[in-house]
């Protein structure tokens, strides 16, 4: 069955099928699913998740990980909100500053891992705690509520079922696809992840590439945080606290190689859509929200198992 085999090789084909089947099922079973408002709600909740997944995806691509994605998100969210509410920084200036803060956090992660050669897990576990500590120390867990009206409107308004919030992830997705497919730093990032030794011998600076991946990761987490603030209408210190699992689930379910060197922007996007669909289905079906937690874990394990199986099947381990 060559068609089936081809489908097997395209990592995200299974996801696309699952999404279509799931949507049809939900549309048939729950009348509320296909309403304009429900689709808007779903698309809106998808925005932050996608960027969180991307933030982890770029570090997985270079063969690293970033435990501090959520902590960076939280720190950026309160800095973003704080600088607007307490310091009166205008929105147009606050957004780039917020992204710069995220990138700076990523720079710290990157330099610490690349320079010392210490396992990225333990470094980012430590910085995650430090970033969260700064966040909580500054805010004492009290949110900033007075966000500019323009930001709140951006997070709230829609064109039929299309939330304006979705514009940001669409642009980022396109840029990331271009980055990984067609730019030299993007390819170098994947080359270092795919075979660090070979990348060395080909004159690619491993250190610089790892730092770049972490800076990108921090920047993407920051964008996710800005969107989260827009969506919630306030800068909550708890933003990012529950991102860890999602950040790994999305790229891994999307087919990223755990050992680095391969990521799929499309796959990650589809994975986040699937997760949003599951969450939405749970809400519509009035199921215990705890099932989401359970299913997300099960989904990761299934994806990991499927990847192994596919590698054995196609003989491309």
């Amino acid at each position: 069955m060559p068609f089936l085999r081809r489908l097997l090789i395209v990592e995200w084909s299974g996801l696309a099928v699952a999404i279509v089947l799931g949507s049809v099922l939900l549309a048939v079973l729950t009348p509320n699913f296909m309403t304009e408002y429900n689709i808007y709600v779903m698309l809106r909740s998808f925005c932050v998740g996608l960027l969180v997944g991307f933030a982890q995806m770029v570090t997985l691509g270079v063969g690293q990980m970033n435990i501090s994605v959520g902590a960076i998100g939280g720190l950026v969210a309160i800095s973003f909100g704080g600088m607007m509410e307490a310091l009166g920084v205008p929105l147009v200036l606050a957004v780039p500053l917020a992204i710069a803060i995220g990138a700076l956090c990523g720079l710290i992660n990157g330099v610490l891992t690349a320079r010392t050669g210490i396992n990225g897990f333990i470094i980012t576990l430590a910085t995650a705690s430090a970033f969260t500590g700064i966040n909580l120390g500054i805010t004492e867990a009290i949110p900033f509520y007075n966000m500019p009206a323009a930001l709140v409107a951006f997070g709230d308004e829609r064109f039929f079922a299309f939330p304006y919030l979705l514009i940001a992830p669409i642009i980022v997705t396109a840029l990331l696809m271009l980055f990984f497919a067609r730019t030299v730093p993007g390819r170098q990032l994947l080359a270092v992840g795919g075979n660090p030794h070979a990348a060395d011998l080909s004159g690619i600076s491993r250190e610089r590439t790892i730092v770049l991946a972490h800076v990108l990761s921090g920047g993407l987490a920051a964008i996710a945080a800005v969107l989260a603030v827009a969506q919630l209408g306030s800068a909550q210190p708890s933003i990012g606290a529950d991102w860890l699992l999602l950040s790994f689930a999305a790229p891994i379910i999307g087919g990223a190689a755990l050992t680095g060197g391969y990521v799929s922007v499309v796959g990650t996007t589809l994975a986040v859509i699937l997760i949003a669909l599951i969450e939405n289905g749970m809400v519509l079906a009035n199921v215990d929200p705890y099932w989401v937690q359970f299913l997300l874990g099960a989904l990761i394990l299934a994806a990991v198992w499927l990847n192994r199986w596919r590698a054995v099947k196609t003989g491309t381990d």
Partner: protein, 507 residues
């Protein structure tokens, strides 16, 4: 001189890899670099390509001293290399791998059309059958090697280093490569060519530098003054290295391990062999002949697809090393001491006792350090392992003493059958002789040994009988008379006989 190496030295923990090595390379020559495994060839290549930095000595490029801190610097200075290790990005296309150093861009974006066109140009010189758009991970080993070579060529460097480029490609592809190298030579490119195959060196090289135990055995000798025998003796050193071991008393009536018509999932076909009590059975073959893989298959590392493995005349299937040791008293000394033989961060005592912890356990399953030391000490003494104490970290011992530790653990385990894979690679001559004598002694004590080695003098000195392997088959048996001339000739005759039969077989 385009490149000059001036008495370069380099040490790694426990081993002096290079000791005052020199080499000079002229434009428009093919310079062979030869030596046995562990002689230091790869280390020298890695120094020239900036992967390692020399402890002392100088590297001069066009007469100017240079210091390569990384491969980037070397590439920038016009040096390109085919390394021994696989250096491709598995998930990238063939074309992108070939042009990885400097991908062509248009408007800041990578230009895949140009990549495919340029890569095609280089690939066509070697093999028209490889698609530049294919992902590297889908290629065969030989195809990957071709891609590696095309990648090195595409840099159009003035200095080209080739570390065993023909190790896994066909004779046809080798011929194409040689035509290409000769053309590059005419264009003034300086080429360093590393190979184990004498025929190739005689076919293509202008001069030869030989390394032995990290030192120069010859520097830039013209090939016209070289004969096969002279080259071999330069590589392996003095003939008297063949120590005469004491008589052995193998019991040829007692077959302890036997393979009958064995085929494996690794590709071995119709393997027949019999190992007798107290015998040292040599398994000779060039790299890639399937010797280590056969050892793995016996120990459960590969599936036995047909035929039979018998121990003490009973058919057996060994699942893994744990079973091999605990049920059948089989031991294996890996060729890769650092990765598979030893636990470098643990002590001498623990590394030897690892095979006998279960036995040492006493009351409540507890092991006392004193008990462990008592069990280990006799072997440290017997093997003359030079270590300040049993608590010394094995990683801090010399290569020879490390190897003795990895032998000691099987003696401690009281193994009945030992498979010893390249026991003296990268070990100094004195210790090498010690280990040879030790193997003889163990065999006299009734242990049966399968010795895997591509070191011909070692084989001739140590083995009782020699089975010759080629292409995952056993192609002949040589009754060892311990005379280097006759025995080595007989062994090579076995290999040449098959090579003549299969002209297209991979080396």
């Amino acid at each position: 001189m385009v490149l000059t190496i001036e008495s370069v030295s380099k040490a790694f923990p426990g081993v002096q890899a290079l000791d005052g090595v020199s080499l000079d390379l002229k434009p428009g020559e093919i310079h062979a670099l030869m030596g046995e495994n562990g002689a230091g060839k790869s280390t020298l290549i890695k120094i020239i390509t900036g992967l390692h930095q020399p402890d002392s000595g100088r590297v001069l490029l066009n007469g100017e001293p240079v210091h390569f801190a990384s491969p980037r610097d070397a590439i920038g200075a016009g040096i390109s290399a085919v390394h021994q290790e696989r250096n491709l990005i598995p998930r990238f296309s063939v074309g992108e791998n070939i042009l990885l150093e400097r991908p062509p861009t248009r408007g800041g974006m990578i230009d895949y059309d140009t990549i495919n066109r340029d890569a095609r140009k280089w690939l066509d010189m070697l093999d028209r059958g490889i698609d530049t758009r294919a992902e590297v991970r889908t290629l065969s080993v030989a195809q990957m090697q071709i891609v590696e070579i095309a990648k090195a060529l595409s840099l159009e460097a003035k200095i080209l280093l080739m570390d065993e480029p023909t190790a896994s490609i066909t004779e046809h592809e080798t011929a194409a490569l040689f035509t290409l190298l000769k053309r590059l030579r005419e264009n003034g490119v300086a080429i360093i060519f590393v190979s184990h195959k004498l025929e190739e060196v005689f076919a293509i090289a202008d001069r030869v530098t030989v390394l032995r135990d990290g030192k120069n055995a010859a520097v830039g000798e013209p090939m016209t003054t070289m004969t096969r025998d002279k080259l071999v003796s330069l590589m392996i050193g003095r003939k008297e290295r063949i120590a005469v071991l004491g008589e052995r008393n193998a019991d040829m009536a007692d077959v302890v391990l036997e393979a009958r018509d064995l085929s494996t999932s690794d590709g071995h076909r119709n393997i027949d062999l019999a190992l007798h009590r107290g015998e040292i059975l040599g398994l000779y073959g060039l790299v890639g002949a399937g010797r280590s893989e056969l050892a793995r298959a016996i120990l459960g590392g590969a599936e036995i697809t047909s035929g039979e493995l018998r121990l003490h005349d009973k058919p057996v299937r060994i699942r893994d090393m744990h079973e091999a040791l605990s049920k059948y008293r089989l031991g294996y000394i890996s060729e890769d001491r650092k990765a598979e033989g030893l636990i470098l961060m643990h002590s001498v005592r623990e590394n030897i006792a690892i095979t006998i912890w279960r036995k040492l356990a006493g009351f409540l399953g507890l092991i006392s350090g004193a008990r462990e030391s008592r069990a280990v000490e006799p072997f440290v003494e017997k093997l003359e392992i030079r270590t300040p104490s049993l608590a010394q970290t094995v990683g801090n011992l010399s290569g020879g003493n490390q190897q003795k530790v990895s032998i000691a653990k099987w003696l401690a385990a009281n193994a009945e059958i030992l498979i010893v894979d390249e026991p003296t690679v990268g070990i100094d001559i004195k210790t090498k002789t010690d280990i040879h004598e030790l193997l003889g002694e163990i065999a006299r004590d009734g242990v049966s040994i399968i010795l895997i080695s591509s070191d011909m003098p070692e084989m001739v000195a140590v083995a009782d009988r020699i089975l010759v392997m080629h292409g995952f088959r056993i192609v002949g048996e040589v009754a060892n008379d311990h005379q280097y001339e006759t025995a080595s000739k007989a062994i090579m005759a076995c290999i040449h006989a098959v090579e003549d039969d299969e002209p297209t077989s991979a080396g």
